[in-house]
């Protein structure tokens, strides 16, 4: 075998080898959970009143936080995709901060804000967040809104502005054009963005526990239940919640892949 052929072969084999190692690593992690969890314990944990309440609270808060995030992300994502304005890079960078900042750091900053003089006034007279389910929504929203903006900006960038120009000349005003042309074309991307935000909110822990705590039956989400389970060395209960989050993650990823594949058609 010549040196060139050997190099070409190694070039072909190398990425496959790395891919094999990483997929094996992730599979082993999931498999470990599957092998360690006991069927009876899984059933008992997930069907208990406490678990159902935790799952419900997690799902409801994640849904509200994701919908709120979408409400903000739709106009902002559209604006960032379509318009240039002074300071756009600065704004864009600022909006990305929650993505790169540690969630517990963001939660701490939120706690400081709510503990400040105006924050305390807001907490006392308008709406309270600290150690409440509303705090979970606020924490999750703060984390996922940047993710939703990022994905929706990419979605709008993929839609050719020519569609909007043509619609405008045909007599459609900007609102009507957005509602009847841009939004329908972005539908799959918006759904994918919502699902990603929802999944991220479901798994959010650092900011949530900092702002809302992990009070059983009140502010306990699935990740905080895992944390509490580990703290009390209840491995089977912990594994049940971990498995639940794995199922949610895989389902979400499959759904997103389905929607983005449709959008590409």
């Amino acid at each position: 075998m010549t040196g060139k052929r050997a190099q070409n072969l190694s070039f072909s084999v190398f990425p496959w080898a790395v891919l094999g190692i990483l997929t094996a690593y992730i599979s082993v992690i999931i498999l470990t959970v599957l092998l360690r969890v006991q069927g009876s314990s899984l059933r008992d944990t997930l069907l208990s009143g406490r678990a159902l309440s935790t799952i419900r609270l997690s799902a409801v808060c994640a849904t509200i936080a994701s919908l709120l995030a979408l409400l903000f992300a739709l106009p902002i994502g559209y604006l960032l995709a379509r318009k240039s304005f002074p300071g756009k890079n600065l704004v864009d960078t600022l909006l990305d901060v929650p993505i790169v900042l540690s969630p517990v750091a963001l939660g701490t900053a939120l706690l400081m804000l709510l503990g400040s003089e105006p924050g305390r006034f807001f907490e006392a007279n308008v709406v309270s967040f600290i150690f409440t389910a509303r705090g979970i929504v606020l924490a999750q929203f703060s984390i996922v809104v940047a993710l939703a903006i990022r994905t929706l900006k990419a979605v709008f960038e993929q839609i050719d502005p020519r569609y909007e120009d043509v619609a405008y000349f045909l007599g459609s005003n900007r609102w009507r054009t957005f509602l009847t042309v841009t939004l329908p074309l972005a539908r799959s991307g918006i759904l994918a963005s919502f699902i990603l935000a929802w999944a991220r909110a479901m798994g959010e822990f650092g900011a949530t526990i900092t702002v809302a705590g992990a009070v059983r039956g009140k502010t306990e989400t699935i990740p905080s239940a895992i944390y509490l389970g580990l703290a009390s060395v209840d491995i089977q209960e912990t594994l049940a919640y971990v498995l639940l989050l794995i199922v949610v993650a895989v389902t979400v990823l499959l759904a997103v892949r389905l929607f983005t594949a449709r959008a590409a058609l």
Partner: protein
Amino acid sequence: MISVSGVRASFGSFTLDNMNLNVREGEHFVLLGPSGAGKTLLVETVLGLRRYSAGKVVVAGRVVRGEPVDSVPISYVPQDLALFPHLSVRDNITFGGRARGMDKQRASEKLEELSDLLNIANILDRRGPSTLSIGEKQRVALARALFIEPRILFLDEPFSSLDYYIKRQLIEKLREIKDNLHVTVFQVTHDHEEAFMLADRIAVMFDGRIAQAGSPSELQARPATLEVARFLLAQNIFEGEVVEVDSGSGRARTRVGELLLSSTAVNGLSRGQRVSVVIRPEEIHVIRPDRPLGPKVQDNLLTAYIDSRIPTPAGYILVTHIDGLGGPVEIRLSSCAFGDLDLESKSTVPVSLKAESLWLIPR
């Protein structure tokens, strides 16, 4: 209807410089130029989709300032057509009617009229444009644009990706539409044939500037610059020097190679001036030995040596050379004339470079 005066606009490193255009109401105006000349940028500037830094664009009496004019119905068919992929063919066409609150009876009549005109009745019920052929898509895009009864129709390379046969059909259709609907058309193309078949006036554009604007016959017979001549003709351009100008008789004599050629064009030329001498291949008259010379073909009588014969859809091109002239000379003949003359390769043929068809461009 459209006026562009002294417009300057920059898009990255590309600049539209000192653009001046006037499009009259009811005119079919074609912006012709090679790819990368800035034609689409100019159209988008006129449409208000791009901002300009100097000059003035006026469309239907309104100054355009980076926002589309909507005081009169204007339709725009971009190069990629931008048919809405989420709407059926019918909904695509009637989109403008719904946006403008057209009543259902009127919309239905209009749809029927355009379906008949553009032969698209059989595809109206398709669920989306993705299943249409490119020719069908072009016709649907035209129908959608015409549905709102525009006063001005902007077409950006509307036939660029079509087969020749379908393109010819659509060109005929567009001529019919323009005559019937009395719409002003502003069209962009890089295709000479398309431009000359459709335009009332043509502006030739290179590198962000207009090189010449005029009627198709003016441009063909009297290219203002060597650049325009090369773009429109590509052949039969020779270098020469003016040796005699007689303004009284309106004739000039020019030395080209070893020959002296007469022309009726004096257009401000002076003796000793270096020029490019241009003649269209179809304006070179092949002399039949059995017929007397007409008054227009008595100058510049020469002998052409036929090097090769190239068949074309419309007839034949004779690639020849003429002693003393330098460079190949192309002669275009109809199939009928070619058949009558019975010309063989490597034979000779007497020709006249008609004086009135010889055009001199100062260098």
